[in-house]
Symmetry: C2
Subunit: 447 residues, 2 copies
């Protein structure tokens, strides 16, 4: 127990920092009643107090110099809400080295440097906790280190980026193009002016890297994760998904296969019957398959000030009571204590696939395509090719181009890529083919 | 930490007991690696070893006399998986008084005697943990005492009985009558030969009583919970729900209202847009609304040997490491430390309602009904009355009876009951009217 050393220094007073300070200050009594701890915010450290002032926090808490908070012997917990991997890393390291517990919501920092920071924490006999780093207010990190501790985790499937899920929901429900859906997300405050980190899939990759490490008890090499975002997705493919009984979701997948661990972020076709297909708008969800529990799913708001602050404060409460150190010291899931994962590359994955090939309406092309798939030992499950309905007559000189939509049975991705290379070099193929993986309901083993 | 006193005595080797012993024995290394603890099963206490023998457990673990396990100074944890409220209560009290921590999956025991047992535990400086008592393998009890600890919980909505949800799913998807759907559940091992505890709603009531106590930090009087099961549900109403855009679910509801806490178990119409409407077959889910997180939902298998054993073992691991005592001693959510809830009766609830009134096809009846609702300050939202399609001509002498389906805006249940009493006494009304509450998506406050 920390007893006389449980004051809190909060570093970074943006959206999450402001909400966290609000929760600690305004709901002080509620938190004391529920946690059994007095959670005392002593410092709000930031370079710029304008947001903190707007929120009406007492100026007596403002401090520009982190060192003042680190030198205060009554401060036991530093809450890092700066974001990014440069300044935030330095702050976290300095806090740990000063013997302060760290609570952080920083997924990029943890995805890249998690194991090292945990090592630094242990060397200084303190802890790092990070419930808020993945899926905002949903206590999914706790599920991995505590609630599901009796399970061998077999697979994780996450919709962990609200911006992407909102954009995809707009495309599916309203038939909006990617560009229009992105604009709608920006208008509604659900996408940044520069949305790259979200729509590129990188933010989802950060989160699945953190969760996969705890789930599989392996160090994850973030740079080895194949990442594909939604920014290259065509409305046409979203519509075909719907016709075929699927929904397109940006899935962060981590899957223990015989050959190794497959971690990837990808737009995926998922059956309408799968619970993840229901998750719409800015909501997030993580499906976890354990050998004893089977499928459990955790659903909620994966971003936003208050939901994320809820997770930050749950970590502060556990740290202040000395409870979290029990998990941190005992449990075998932390990435500093385990070996490197054997991560599979894209080419080693097997999956079902959807393929859209743009072919000029010339006889024999489908036969050529089928035979190329056959040569690469890929078995076709369904073909959809429709008659043109008189469109594009203004371009009478050009060849008429029609989409041929093919789904294939479980295949090696290396074979798929080789086959599509050949197909795309056919004279009758007018554009680079689109390939999207189809994710089936993961089988439950139940012991 | 328990150090030299962490051996486990398991009492009751039925479905859950067998699965728990299996997990502890077969997955010993996995559990040691993940929990950081050696979890040593030392005794399987039961009156009848036949199931334990079938499962191939070593006979050296079998013990008929609980006292032998309680007298063993190396036993630190007693796992009560006997069920019921008589023998199980005695076993739990004896274990606590012998200074053993108790882990239990027994919802009936906790719903009736939870606060007293927790008091007994504290008096003996040990703990009682009960993750497995609600929603099987889904770590929802942990969400209430840990993951969502920074929240004022505003409402809980649970689908917490897999048998009922399976039966309702059969009725909705296959148009099966209640009786046929129950038979299907029994054939598939999803309902007991005597299904009363499940279909009456009592099992769901046990679970919501336990969860509501932690959520609202109040002692719950189990006997004051209005409980209605699915055993009186007509297929006709399930079909009308579908036509009106709803799904019928047996909901266990706990809701903090201004006047008090409303806890109830009821078949309810829930909008197809609500995530709980998606939960089908034997799956369970609990929606929790917190003032900071907004809506989070926890989904998975709410029953069955292995999923429940997963929850039991997570409690064993937390207890063995001494982590759970941190929660048990610090957190303010346990029902022994709080005051009595002010529980609302059915009559005090306000809700929207669906009503089906069977009226003989006589002129003026709808006007009479409307005016009775009006007199009781109930505002009608929609009316559905269809022409008869020539059915029942064999009963030419009888009056033709048609269903009049009415939905009403938010109303006091006391007013509804009074209005329906009057309506049912009209000459033109041929049978007791059916009233089912309509549950809207709970508003999120987000701070």
């Amino acid at each position: 127990m920390l007893s006389r050393k449980n004051k809190i220094a909060l570093v970074g007073c943006g959206t999450v920092g402001g909400a966290t300070a609000n929760l600690l200050l305004k709901d002080r009594e509620l938190l004391a009643a529920r946690t059994g701890q007095s959670l005392d915010l002593a410092y709000i450290v930031d370079q710029d107090y304008s947001h903190a002032k707007e929120l009406g926090f007492p100026a007596s808490l403002f401090e520009r110099d982190l060192q003042v908070a680190l030198d205060d012997p009554e401060v036991g917990i530093v809450v890092e809400l700066v974001g990014g991997t440069t300044v935030a890393k330095e702050i976290t390291e300095r806090a740990l080295e000063a013997g302060k517990h760290v609570v952080t919501a920083n997924k990029a920092l943890l995805a890249h440097h998690g194991a090292d920071l945990i090592e630094t924490a242990r060397a200084n006999k303190v802890t790092v906790s990070f419930e808020a780093s993945c899926a905002g207010g949903i206590p999914v990190i706790r599920a991995l280190y505590d609630g599901l501790v009796a399970n061998r985790i077999e697979a994780l499937y996450g919709i962990v980026n609200g911006t992407c899920n909102y954009i995809l929901t707009e495309m599916v429900h309203r038939g909006a193009t990617y560009a229009d859906a992105l604009k709608a997300a920006q208008r509604n405050g659900l996408a940044e002016a520069d949305p790259t980190l979200d729509v590129s899939g990188l933010d989802s990759a950060h989160k699945i890297a953190i969760m996969a490490a705890l789930a599989f008890q392996r160090r994850i090499d973030f740079d080895a994760i194949p990442v594909q975002g939604i920014d290259t997705l065509h409305l046409q493919d979203v519509m075909y998904a719907d016709r075929l009984g699927y929904v397109v979701k940006l899935l962060a997948i981590a899957h223990q296969e015989e050959a190794g661990i497959s971690i990837r972020v990808r737009p995926s076709f998922i059956s309408r019957e799968h619970p993840l297909a229901w998750v719409s708008g800015p909501f997030n969800a993580v499906s976890i398959y354990g050998h004893a529990t089977g499928h459990t799913m955790y659903y909620g708001r994966g971003a936003g000030g208050m939901p994320t602050a809820s997770a930050v404060v749950s970590d502060i409460a556990g740290t202040a009571a000395g409870i979290y150190s029990g998990f941190f010291e005992n449990r075998g899931v932390w990435p500093d204590q385990v070996g490197d994962a054997h991560q599979l590359s894209n080419r080693q994955i097997t999956s079902r696939y959807y393929v859209r090939i743009m072919v000029s309406d010339s006889p024999g092309t489908l036969a050529q395509i089928s035979s190329i798939f056959g040569n690469h030992r890929i078995s076709i499950a369904s073909v959809l090719q429709e008659e043109l309905t008189g469109a594009d007559e203004s371009h009478g000189e050009e060849r008429q181009v029609v989409p041929v939509v093919i789904t294939v049975h479980e295949s090696k991705e290396a074979n798929m890529l080789a086959a599509l290379d050949e197909i795309d070099s056919l004279d009758a193929v007018a554009a680079k083919s689109v390939m999207i993986n189809i994710v089936d309901e993961h089988p439950e083993s139940l012991g």
